[in-house]
């Protein structure tokens, strides 16, 4: 798109790929641009190959492209990996004094990163600031913004370090501007814009949870969800929240349930492997009707799989996890905005229906940054459902009521006692062996699924309302799908998108209506077996006309979708 640039930073783990990328992303965002950034990294701490892909421009950007206008290669391997993606014109920055390349190639732009760092900042370790500056220099973007963002990275390390890095960035900036300026057709200028937020899916989600009153989190580190726990334990603590690293995921879910039973909004976060260990606890929340929020950040499985990559392979798993039958809600945000909104909403839903709410994300959403408009906190309403602060002495936790929800007291807040049980129980919470009671309790627990239909987040219909081709997706494919629809329509194709950010209870009516309004429907999923399609068929009997599936551990780009989508247009 016009005025849009993709900038890729590549290098080994430990070389600072992410910090260069994020610094630039922040700077461009502060300069009023829209930014999207996608990360690609391996399951190691040093070495290998990582990249940080930054796309920015004057209009909203929602996905990463395969092409890059600017490449910052921190090691030779990064040149190998990314040169094929370089646009024409395009520029690849690397340290020509350290990396010997065979002959000059189109776009090669050797910058003496280490030497400039030494000369300008006085320390060769400042080479990453040189690189950031050089990349920015190619765009001619307002240097003062870049400079501030670079310095901010070193806040607290003393004015000398900050200043040195500023100078290093300036050296890189000047070098690029003077030596290569204009050669890549990638100039960017600042824009007047409201101050946007730049955050990734994990950050948006945990902020939503904190806004939603979550004050207890227990978790065990697991990519891609670890940052949620870390945020709770550090920043969340400032709001009075507790973030606990447990001995294992079993403890994590049982702690979250224990805290929630005692009246505090509580969550846990993990990936599929950790969620496997939480399955019994999920059923416990279902049986005891204890609200709890569980974030499952998908990564390619089975088992350890690709720990740092992305996939949508756990949908049917989370829909059906745990023995027995009970209602649950599954939310599938696709953007930071949705992650925040659903991170907030999850706690209201969990308390209103007294059940577990699963927020199903994935590495692509969790680790990708985007600029978004600041959240409107003023409209957020806490709803604690049928919470009973002053329970009567004859209180019974599992009373059968016309509403289908048993008023929920918490222990210690009144003189009533609260009895919850993982065994089948009577209204008073005590163990029963009675078949009729059992039947009534099953109906209540399963029946909440129907009640929760009243609160389904409707799928988002984008593009043509009666398209020739409807692309259906869920979760993190949102951005790529939406841009694919834009691209198809720009090409004259009548296209639409139906994106589900809530999969369960399944939005039967809206999906059926959208499919009916479309000539053909194609399901786009980042998995191998078309899980949402199977769920949809089980719920509605409808099957899509086709599938676009990808399961190499990498996210879709819009063009991968458009290319395949055209197959159904012939």
């Amino acid at each position: 798109m016009a005025g849009e640039i993709t900038l890729t930073v590549g290098g080994q783990a430990g070389q600072g790929v992410q910090s260069i990328g994020l610094t630039l992303a922040r700077a461009f965002a502060r300069g009023g641009l829209h930014v999207f950034a996608q990360q690609d990294y391996e399951s190691r701490v040093r070495g290998g190959h990582n990249s940080f892909k930054l796309r920015m421009g004057p209009r909203p950007v929602m996905a990463a492209l395969q092409e890059t206008n600017i490449l910052v290669a921190l090691d030779p391997l990064s040149l190998d990996v990314h040169m094929a993606q370089l646009t024409d014109p395009g520029v690849a920055i690397f340290d020509g004094e350290k990396t010997q390349v065979a002959g000059p190639r189109r776009g090669y732009f050797p910058v003496p990163l280490e030497r400039l760092a030494q000369e300008s900042g006085g320390n060769r370790l400042m080479q990453n600031s040189v690189a950031a500056g050089a990349a920015a220099g190619l765009t001619g973007f307002d240097f003062s913004i870049i400079s501030d963002a670079v310095a901010e990275q070193f806040k607290g390390r003393g004015p000398e370090v900050e200043e040195g890095n500023r100078r290093a960035a300036q050296a890189g900036y000047d070098y690029a501007l003077t030596q290569f300026g204009g050669r890549c057709d990638c100039s960017l200028s600042t824009m007047a814009a409201p101050k946007r937020l730049l955050l990734d899916g994990n950050e948006a989600l945990v902020l939503g949870a904190l806004a939603g009153g979550c004050r207890f989190m227990a978790g065990y580190p697991m990519t891609p969800s670890t940052p949620i726990l870390q945020y709770m334990a550090t920043k969340g603590a400032g709001l009075g929240a507790v973030g606990i690293q447990t001995e294992d995921e079993i403890a994590a879910i049982n702690m979250a349930i224990g805290a929630s039973f005692a009246g505090v909004r509580a969550m846990t976060a993990t990936a599929g492997g950790g969620f496997s260990l939480m399955v019994e606890g999920l059923g416990l929340a279902g049986m005891t009707e204890t609200p709890v929020v569980i974030v499952v950040g998908q990564r390619p499985g089975p088992a350890t799989g690709f720990p740092t990559r992305t996939e949508q392979g756990d949908l049917e798993f989370v829909l059906h996890a745990a023995q027995g039958e009970f209602a649950r809600i599954v939310l599938t945000p696709g953007t930071p905005e949705q992650a925040f909104a659903l991170g907030f909403r999850a706690f209201n839903l969990a308390e209103r229906y007294q059940l577990p709410v699963i927020i199903l994300t994935d590495q692509q959403l969790a680790d990708s940054y985007r600029t978004i408009e600041p959240f409107d906190l003023s409209s957020l309403q806490i709803d604690r459902g049928e919470l009973l602060l002053d329970a009567p002495p004859d209180y019974m936790r599992y009373r059968l009521t016309p509403s289908g929800i048993s008023p929920r007291a918490v222990p210690g807040l009144s003189s009533a006692v609260v009895v919850a049980d993982s065994d089948e129980h009577a209204e008073d919470g005590h163990i029963t062996e009675d078949g009729a009671v059992r039947t009534a309790m099953v109906r209540k627990r399963v029946g909440k699924l129907e009640l929760a239909r009243a609160d389904i987040v409707p799928p988002e219909h984008y593009g043509e309302q009666h398209p020739e081709l409807l692309l259906i997706g869920w979760g993190s494919t949102y951005g790529a799908l939406r841009e694919a629809v834009d691209d198809l329509r720009a090409d004259g194709v009548s296209a639409g998108m139906l994106h589900l950010s809530q999969v369960w209870p399944f939005p039967n009516e809206q999906v059926q209506a959208a499919m009916k309004a479309a000539k053909k429907s194609v399901m786009v999923e980042n998995n191998a077996s078309g899980q949402l399609a199977r769920v949809m068929r089980g719920e509605t009997g409808l099957a899509p006309d086709g599938h676009i599936l990808k399961y190499d551990g990498r996210p879709f780009s819009p063009s991968e979708i458009t290319t395949q989508a055209r197959r159904w247009l012939r």
Binding site: K195, N254, G258, F261, A266, I382, V410, S415
Partner: protein
């Protein structure tokens, strides 16, 4: 809420009839728990009993108070978290030896080092009672059951383990001595930290070895045998005793910061009583600008 002038055992009475076998050791533990609560003058609504699954796990149903009867083996995480959520509750976890040392062994280990301010009572009958008599982690070597037809091998020694793992209150009671046990439970609840008691609990149906009589011949009280619970080394040595003489009482006690002490955010009002304000995240958003 009316202020109770005094709490009596009747306040804890329920209409639930225990589903234990007649003569079961659990009948010696039930009154001990109630007596301790009454002695401490805790009202039922101030108490939360958290249990797992097993014969032992049924105990909270027979005491009128707050109850969370959760999963087999998972009492400690739930109890720890409930305490963090509302530190005004007296939280007591109860479970069996299979529950606590088999399925829940990992949580036991980590609770000991974390030292949450809760109480943990293990009904140690050295057998899986509710599932009909299989060998447990504490079954004596040679114990025959359908899962160890050639006899059980080396057991877990929970007291020694608790001391090694950093327990701050490590005790053993005997279901055949309810008064002594009630005293221990009271001490454990009062203890600021993880008050752990392994209770020798005869299973009259399945465990034909470790019977009431067997224990009665062997148990002796540490307190009257000159043991100093502040002496960790002595506690370790006493923990090795099993066979002719079996010590009961407090092996070890120390003061150490509790798990809750690690969270400054818990200072002030209990978490559960704090109002929720969605706008409180406002300042955090500045970091992302």
């Amino acid at each position: 809420m009316s202020i109770k002038v005094s709490v009596a055992a009747e306040d804890y009475a329920t209409t639930q009839v225990p589903a234990w076998c007649p003569g079961c050791g659990n009948f010696g533990i039930l009154p001990a728990v109630v007596n301790a609560l009454v002695t401490l003058q805790l009202a039922p609504h101030q108490v939360l009993l958290v249990s797992g699954i097993g014969q032992a796990g049924k105990l909270p149903h027979y005491i009128k108070c707050n109850v969370f009867n959760g999963l087999h083996g998972r009492t400690l995480p739930a109890a720890t978290a409930a305490k963090l959520a509302n530190r005004e509750l007296a939280v007591i976890a109860v479970g069996g030896d299979g529950d606590g040392y088999g399925e829940g062994g990992n949580h036991f280990l980590h609770a000991l080092r974390r030292n949450p301010d809760i109480t943990y009572i293990v009904h140690d009958n050295q057998v899986y009672g509710l599932t009909l008599g299989q060998t447990s982690p504490t079954s004596d070597p040679g114990y025959i059951s359908a899962t160890t037809p050639r006899g059980a091998y080396q057991p877990v020694h929970p007291i020694a383990l608790a001391i090694a793992a950093g327990g701050t209150f490590v005790a053993r009671g005997f279901a055949g001595n309810t008064d002594h046990l009630a005293g221990l439970i009271g001490e454990a609840i009062r203890h600021r930290g993880f008050g752990y008691i392994d209770v020798l609990q005869p299973c009259v149906t399945f465990n034909r070895v470790n019977t009431f009589a067997w224990y009665r011949q062997r148990v002796y009280d540490l307190a009257s045998d000159g043991h100093d619970p502040a002496d960790r080394e002595a506690a370790w040595q006493r923990a090795q005793e099993w066979g002719e003489r079996i010590p009961i009482g407090i092996f070890y006690r120390e003061e150490r910061p509790t798990f809750e002490d690690n969270f400054p955010s818990l200072a002030g009002e209990p978490l559960v009583k704090r109002p929720i304000d969605p706008r409180a995240v406002g300042p955090l958003l500045e970091d992302f600008k």
